[in-house]
């Protein structure tokens, strides 16, 4: 599945009750959290354990092995909060979630504090990850890069890249928000202020997308 070695495959169902109950230091999820979670997520199954046993590379300093889990989604327009909850409570640092809906899939993972979710649905039967590097750190970073999608600079670290991506997403959201405000505002001075702020952010965004900006932390 997804190009992972056959001998890494396992099948271990993760009980949702266990996920939403007390996990380590985490308090049990609230009733409303559980309800929201169940609106989107039908089942979680661990499908692969990738380690030096199944891939001919050395262990990394950071990654000694990682898991892949198939998450069956109940709807395509899922609430991203639920994916965050799942990554937060599953208790594994290096785990790749394959969010499946019918025959299509999107991927999600956590890198430090960054939640990375791939943008587009791809056909589950056809999609393959490509693996490269000499150790599992490189392999995992390669997967993060493939899930994060476009706009990746190999000159920067993974964390720096994710910072920039998050900043871009934030800018895009803010731009859309200001556009809406500027269009609905009747008072000319405020209307122009929103418009000009939007334009400033747009030029910042262009700068980021052209990779001119070298600050990982804007």
């Amino acid at each position: 599945m997804f190009g992972f070695p056959v001998d890494s495959e396992i099948k271990k169902i993760v009980a949702k009750d266990a996920l939403l109950g007390r996990v380590g230091m985490l308090a049990p999820a609230s009733t409303s959290q559980k309800a929201t979670f169940n609106e989107d997520i039908a089942q979680v199954v661990i499908t692969n354990v990738v380690s030096t046993k199944s891939l001919p590379v050395a262990a990394g300093a950071r990654v000694k092995g990682f898991y892949v889990a198939r998450v069956s989604m109940k709807r395509k327009q899922f609430n991203p909060k639920n994916v965050e909850t799942l990554l937060h409570r599953i208790g594994q640092k290096n785990i790749l979630l394959a969010l499946s809906y019918g025959d299509v899939v999107r991927f999600a993972l956590k890198y430090d504090e960054h939640i990375v979710v791939s943008k587009d649905w791809v056909l589950a039967g056809e999609f393959r990850f490509s693996f490269s590097g000499l150790n599992l750190d490189d392999v995992w970073n390669g997967i993060v890069k493939q899930v994060a999608g476009n706009l990746w600079s190999d000159a920067l670290s993974v964390a720096e890249n994710l910072d920039i991506q998050e900043h871009i997403a934030k800018l895009q959201k803010e731009i859309a928000n200001l556009e809406k405000k500027a269009r609905s505002e009747n008072q000319p001075a405020r209307k122009l202020e929103f418009f000009n702020r939007k334009r400033d952010l747009e030029s910042q965004l262009t700068e980021y997308q052209n990779g001119k900006s070298n600050h990982a932390q804007p």
Partner: protein, 674 residues
């Protein structure tokens, strides 16, 4: 489809809104002379709210008044429907520049600027007539009589220069000496205040003739608490004896008021720079500049707190012994002890306190900070012990004083002589303006209250522009520090006398001198600064005050037969689409320096101002295809405002579909017709 207002802001309505924010219950409605409902203030209710703090008519009060003051206040609040016509031919880099040079009576111009520059100007500098008995004072009579103002014949000669009959010499003999001057200044300053940003300031040059009156009206307009300084400018140290009695005069004044004094800080400037330009008043940095691995520094203060209030009782954690090893600079910190020693280290006890109660002064730094930032401390050996000083790395600044020396009236003469400009008496000097500008536009306060340098894009306004020194200084300072300040200069096109130097040099009016000066100064600065000034904005848009682009029917349709109101060509025949564009830009709050792009769509000229914010077409025969081309675009490119003329559409069919097209393709676009 809304009708555009085509006149400036009515400040009375703005004031009603302000009172409404504080006392909503005082807002009511009434009917004006034409039977239209309008907002009004219920004065009785307002009085109830202020019951014991109002003064009845005729009661004594502290006030400064003169004949015509009421009229002056009314003048400041009344809207104007005059307009500013762009003049591309006389402009420099019209399409890209953000600077403005406006010709016309500054009262009308300020009113027009109120619409889109309200609260946006960081600094105003003015050098108004000093009322010496020889200068001209604007005679505002022509504004009461718009007929005569609008009939060009009385206002301008055949070359478009304003005639002197509109001004009069304000001499003692006309018997209304201060009154005229005050009536001229008051409304202008009142509007000027509206233009200032919350952290904005105004500088006003003045001499003894009107200094006291100016201060009084400024106290009233800006508020006494917002008075910051009365700079004494020592502009003629050799002295000038005019009156024939008393001592010779050596100085003038520059009054400084802020819009809001809580938004101002101490004005600090580079001590080195101040010493260069005013050696008589500033000594530069009074300390040896040393260097270590981190860079240059000076030492001024020892590490202990000189105030004996900070001692072992009030600050027990800041009283300790410091042990210092001279060989490698290592530091240890221990509790105060008479007997304790560290071998190889010199013990430095806390500074003894002489208040008779306590033993020691506390240190200014905590133990942790001393250990962490020991490379910012200097240990100086003195009789087997050491004195500890903190290093000041940001040492090149000092507070500005309220006296200006070493910059003379003659500097101004030299500034324009260097540009080979003739015919202007006593221009202000560029150095003086740079000093004032640096003071208020090179530092700002960040959240922690620290002064921080930043690239500055302040708007600087001078509405008695004269020889355009302000514009020159803005360009010069921007070239020096990489700032992006923008200037707005306003000057009345006062004709030059036929026997004057200026007239002989080919300048028919003062504005021509001003514009030529900016052109030459800009080129000279570009040349001097070379690569450093490659992005420097040395252009300016020339705008000229004129009567409205619209015929009377536009403002008083009731007096026209309503049947043909939509068939009337309500725009004056000699006006261009660009003129109309500049009259509608303020309504959308767009600065007059906004970027304007001209595109030809379906054979018509369509203006795009500030990107897709305002789209306007003032040609006739607008087709559905043209409208579609403008609004059937991706969402983010749809216009926010669309303007056209009342006769702009090709046919009734287009008129019928006009609203529908917008509702369908771009419902959020505000469409307006003039």
């Amino acid at each position: 489809m809304e009708k555009a207002t085509m006149h400036s802001l009515d400040m009375v309505n703005e004031n009603i809104k302000k009172i409404g924010c504080l006392f909503p219950e005082c807002i009511t409605e009434t009917v004006d002379e034409n039977g239209n409902v309008k907002a009004a203030i219920d004065f009785e209710k307002l009085q109830e709210n202020l019951s014991h703090a109002t003064i009845g008519e005729g009661e004594e009060r502290y006030q400064f008044t003169w004949p015509g003051k009421r009229e002056a206040i009314h003048n400041a609040n009344a809207p104007t429907n005059m307009t500013l016509r762009p003049c591309k031919a006389e402009s420099v880099d019209f399409d890209n520049t953000e600077n403005l040079y406006i010709e016309g009576d500054n009262l009308e111009v300020l009113k027009l600027l109120q619409e889109n520059y309200l609260g946006k100007v960081k600094m105003i500098y003015i050098d108004p007539p000093y009322n010496t008995g020889n200068d001209f004072v604007y005679n505002d009579d022509f504004k009461e009589d718009t007929e005569s103002f609008q009939s060009k014949s009385g206002m301008y000669d055949e070359d478009g220069n304003m005639l002197l009959q509109n001004f009069e010499k304000n001499t003692e003999s006309n018997g209304r000496f201060h009154t005229d001057w005050l009536n001229m200044m008051y409304p202008r300053l009142k509007i000027a205040r509206n233009l200032l940003s919350d952290d904005g300031v105004i500088f006003i040059s003045i001499d003894d003739n009107e200094q006291e009156n100016l201060k009084k009206i400024c106290d009233e307009i800006f508020g006494e608490q917002n008075f910051l300084n009365n700079f004494v400018w020592l502009n003629k140290p050799e002295g000038r004896q005019i009156s024939g009695v008393g001592a010779a005069g050596t100085h003038e004044y520059i009054l400084l008021y802020s819009k809001n004094n809580t938004k101002q800080t101490v004005y600090n400037l580079s001590a080195n720079w101040l010493q260069q330009i005013m050696p008589s008043s500033y000594n530069g940095i009074n300390a040896d500049i040393k260097t270590d691995a981190k860079g240059a520094y000076i030492i001024t203060h020892e590490l202990y707190n000189g105030n004996s209030k900070f001692n072992e009782e009030t600050r027990p954690t800041l009283v300790f012994d410091i042990y210092y090893r001279e060989t490698d600079g290592d530091i240890k910190i221990e509790a105060v002890s008479e007997t304790h020693i560290h071998s190889g280290y010199v013990k430095i006890p806390p500074h003894p306190c002489n208040d008779g109660v306590h033993k020691y002064h506390a240190y200014r730094w905590s133990k942790e900070k001393i250990l962490r930032e020991s490379n910012d401390l200097e240990f100086i050996k003195k009789d087997n012990s050491f004195k500890i000083y903190s290093k000041r790395r940001d040492f090149d600044y000092t507070a500005v004083k309220d006296i200006i020396t070493d910059i003379y009236t003659t500097n101004g003469n030299k500034n324009i002589r260097d540009l080979e400009i003739k015919g202007f008496d006593y221009p202000k000097s560029v150095e003086l303006l740079i000093f004032l500008m640096k003071m208020v536009t090179t530092f700002y306060q960040d959240e922690e209250g620290e002064s921080v340098k930043k690239v500055n894009n302040s708007i600087i306004l001078d509405f008695f522009s004269g020889s355009a020194t302000t514009a020159h200084a803005v360009m010069q300072l921007n070239a020096e520090d990489g700032g992006k300040r923008k200037f707005i200069c306003v000057q009345l096109p006062e004709a030059t006398a036929e026997d004057s130097e200026a007239y002989k040099a080919g300048y028919k009016n003062i504005c021509e001198i001003g514009k030529e000066r900016i052109r030459r100064a800009g080129n000279k600065i570009k040349e001097e600064f070379g690569e450093k000034a490659k992005d420097l904005d040395i252009g300016f848009r020339v705008l000229k005050l004129a009567d409205s682009n619209m015929k009377d029917v536009y403002y008083s349709p009731a007096e026209t037969d309503s049947a043909d109101i939509f068939d009337v060509n309500n725009v004056k025949e000699d006006r261009t689409p660009l003129d109309l564009l500049f009259q509608v830009m303020p309504e959308c709050n767009l600065p007059l320096s906004s970027k304007i792009e001209e595109r030809t769509i379906e054979g018509k000229t369509v203006y795009f101002v500030n990107g897709n914010y305002l789209v306007a077409c003032f040609d006739e025969g607008i087709t559905e295809k043209l409208i579609k081309a403008v609004i059937d675009v991706p969402d983010s490119e749809k216009p926010y405002y669309f303007y056209m003329r009342n006769l702009g559409l090709e046919s009734d069919k287009v008129l019928d579909n006009f609203e529908q097209l917008f509702v369908h393709y771009s419902p959020t676009t505000k469409r307006k017709v003039i």
